[in-house]
């Protein structure tokens, strides 16, 4: 720690020697990290949607509106006997209307333009997600059921999308890791080349490798942390914009809490930046030494 001030000063001098290259490296690393974080946040959102759909796995059963109350109760009793069914309840047209109001939130005012309540009563069937197909088959055999609406198709699509985004996220992380390591190790090697006279002098004075290398490790960390900071700023602004866009016209999408998502992503980006900075610098130093 005795030389920490000296190391910081040396790192600043090394950065100043190739100032434009270093600034461009920070921007490149920032953009690379931003794309990776954007992909991960998309996966995160879709994963959250999948979890919510999984938790709320249900089938809505519609029946002819002209049948009497007794017949509806008969249908409910029949549904309750099916394996995989957890809860069955009747949602009348008023409850259906209020539910839609809750879902639409600020946009619920569009319902005021309707003269009559357009919603029909239905039976809400809470199920175990694994039994969805057998429950649907069972429902088809119950007399009096007009229409069965399940969210399996949407669920499958979101799950597929989530899995694609997850794979993409991993690919991006590997690509980000590799490209950041290449950029940093190249910058460090260039820095070593630019400072070769000074390094040779230090070697002749007997300076240990750690003393010579430390300013370059700090340089690598400054570059990646700078890139990470840039990526965090762009990501925060992008997410704020995306949330404002998505919560308006797409009120049905259950988004994760924006604040906790940004906090988690920024922490992840900064940690990744620090690790990549350290590894990139060490690779750069190692390859320069072997040359």
């Amino acid at each position: 720690m005795n030389n920490f001030g000296y190391f910081m000063k040396e790192a600043r001098t090394i950065i100043k020697i190739n100032f434009m290259s270093n600034i461009l490296s920070i921007v490149s690393i920032g953009l690379i990290l931003f794309f990776a974080a954007a992909t991960l946040s998309s996966w995160w959102i879709s994963n959250q949607v999948v979890e919510i759909i999984e938790d709320e796995a249900e089938i809505n059963v519609y029946f002819a509106e002209d049948i009497d109350k007794k017949k509806v109760e008969h249908i409910i009793n029949n549904i309750e006997t099916l394996a995989g069914v957890e809860e069955v309840r009747l949602v009348d047209e008023n409850e259906a209307y209020h539910r839609m109001e809750e879902i639409l939130g600020k946009e619920a005012k569009v319902l005021q333009y309707l003269d009559d309540n357009p919603f029909s009563p239905y039976i809400e069937v809470q199920i175990d997600l694994k039994s969805m197909e057998s429950v649907i088959e069972g429902l088809k055999n119950i007399e009096g059921i007009d229409q069965i609406r399940d969210n399996k198709e949407i669920f499958d699509k979101v799950r597929n999308l989530s899995s694609v985004l997850k794979t993409l996220g991993y690919i991006f992380i590997v690509a980000v890791g590799a490209s950041t390591l290449i950029i940093i190790s190249h910058i460090i090697r260039t820095g070593i080349y630019e400072n070769r006279e000074q390094i040779n002098t230090l070697i002749l004075l007997g300076a240990p490798d750690g003393f010579i290398s430390f300013p370059f490790i700090i340089e690598g960390m400054i570059l990646t942390l700078g890139g990470g900071l840039l990526a965090s700023i762009i990501l925060s602004l992008t997410l704020r914009y995306a949330y404002s866009v998505m919560t308006g016209p797409l009120p049905f999408i259950p988004l994760p809490d924006q604040k906790s998502m940004v906090t988690n992503l920024v922490s992840m980006i900064m940690l990744l930046s620090a690790v990549l900075g350290l590894l990139g610098s060490l690779f750069g130093l190692r390859s320069a030494k072997s040359r």
């Binding site: 005795n2 040779n200 002749l204 004075l205």
Partner: protein
């Protein structure tokens, strides 16, 4: 025990040049050694061997107890921490002040920042450059740069100072001062090995040992 021990040391460069032939030399702690000889005689080559920049192609060389042989880079680097080298081309770091360059000589040694700064100021005073301590080295004259390099060598209080033409760019007064400074280090039991063309300065000192090299062969005589 000798500080430097050379027995039958030869140094041949890859281009075939025989820089040193059969050098036998024993230097004790606190000795003052002046190496003279015409250009290309092998003076700088001998100093390069002492610092571990070159390795003997034949014979045995030990400096500060460390054999100068290939494959011992880290041990040789450790040995250099006990040597104060003054290079012919100074090897100062541009973009830094005189005091920063002097401090660089001992930054990685076991010394607190405060002590290091104090020692650097004392070293710069000894070479008469205290007024230039905050000047960038690229703004200093050659003679001043040479004195910064000398201050960097003495700041670490080394056991051995190896200086290649340390008065080469100095005027007569400054050259005498520097030679007297080196001679005064004997009191601290520091060994000083200097190459020089300035035989008139050596004659005034009347102390130490003179080693004359010609075509890689050494001849020794005592001055006192």
């Amino acid at each position: 025990m000798y500080l430097i021990e050379a027995e039958g040391v030869c140094l041949n460069y890859p281009d075939g040049t025989m820089a040193l032939r059969n050098v036998d030399l024993h230097i004790e702690p606190g000795e003052m050694i002046y190496i003279t000889g015409p250009s290309g005689s092998g003076k700088t080559s001998l100093l390069k061997l002492f610092i571990g920049i070159e390795f003997p192609t034949d014979g045995k060389l030990t400096v500060l107890g460390q054999p100068i042989i290939r494959g011992q880079a880290s041990k040789i680097r450790q040995m250099r921490r006990s040597i104060g080298p003054v290079f012919q081309d100074f090897r100062l770091v541009n973009g830094r002040t005189a005091i920063e360059n002097v401090m660089l000589g001992a930054r990685f040694l076991d010394m607190s920042n405060k002590k290091l700064k104090e020692n650097a100021v004392i070293a710069l005073k000894k070479v008469g450059l205290e007024k230039k301590m905050f000047s960038m080295v690229e703004h200093l004259s050659w003679g001043q740069c040479q004195r910064v390099a000398i201050a960097r060598a003495i700041v670490r209080k080394p056991r051995l100072i190896i200086a290649d033409e340390p008065t080469g760019n100095l005027d007569k007064d400054n050259a005498i001062n520097i030679m007297e400074l080196f001679a005064s280090l004997k009191e601290e039991n520091t060994t000083v090995v200097i190459t020089t063309h300035a035989t008139h300065l050596i004659n005034n000192l009347r102390e130490g040992r003179l080693i004359h090299i010609e075509s890689g062969i050494i001849h020794q005589e005592r001055l006192d």
